[in-house]
């Protein structure tokens, strides 16, 4: 279904620790998944994506894991920095169809 979140869950981590942000998606037919970072007053910024035929993908300091059995997606951020503080959204897409966003998680990094 469509994004219907009413309250934004928050994850608080200490600087230098690893962060794990989770997302449950709705459509088992989705072809790809994307994580976006949205800072206050800005539009979503692409972080990393993963195709449905993969279960793990790594980027710079970030790793995305996909578990199709339980329709779960996670974003791992290594050595979290203050600049990582933002709202993180997962999105699922089907080729040639619209992108559907999840509810978002606010990441707060404290010193």
């Amino acid at each position: 279904g469509e994004s219907v979140g009413l309250h934004l869950p928050t994850l608080s981590v200490q600087e230098g620790d690893n962060s794990i942000i989770n997302c449950a998606y709705s459509n088992s037919a989705s072809d790809y998944f994307i994580w976006y970072k949205q800072e206050s007053g800005k539009g979503p910024q692409f972080i990393i994506d993963i195709r449905s035929n993969m279960d793990k993908r790594q980027g710079q300091r970030v790793t995305v894991l996909l578990n199709k059995t339980v329709k779960h997606l996670s974003l791992q951020i290594a050595a979290t920095q203050p600049g990582d503080s933002a709202v993180y959204f997962c999105a699922e897409g089907i080729l040639n169809d619209k992108l559907i966003f999840g509810t978002g998680t606010r990441l707060q990094v404290f010193p």
Binding site: L6, K98, L99, G102
Partner: protein, 113 residues
């Protein structure tokens, strides 16, 4: 290389009025998608334009309409504004052959009083 730009950045309207928001896609991109983001929620897809035509549409009433120009820029029009239309309106651009990679603009914050 300019990214996606949107104008205006902020806008205040009253109920019943009409509004036009504008978007210039990232250089080289030919597809523009519009999203509505209510406070505390994820963006919701409104519609997508390619080759000056609406290619896909989300669950939004006909009060929401759009246009794409030959230079790939786009407008979002909303008629008969309701209080519930208050939101951040995001434009995203992409290449038709690679729609998965969408670049978002900073958005236009619309407040309807």
């Amino acid at each position: 290389d300019a990214g996606v730009t949107q104008s205006p950045t902020h806008l205040i309207k009253t109920r019943g009025q009409q509004v036009t928001l504008r978007c210039s896609p990232k250089s080289g991109h030919d597809t523009v998608s519009w999203y509505q983001q209510a406070l505390g929620q994820g963006p919701q897809f409104i519609f997508q334009y390619y080759e000056e035509e609406e290619r896909q549409r989300g669950n939004f009433p006909d009060r929401f309409s759009g246009h794409q120009f030959p230079n790939y820029s786009s407008e979002l029009n909303v008629n008969a504004l309701l209080l519930g239309d208050s939101a951040l309106y995001l434009c995203a651009s992409s290449l038709a052959r690679n729609q998965e990679t969408q670049y978002f603009g900073p958005g236009t914050r619309l407040l309807v009083l």
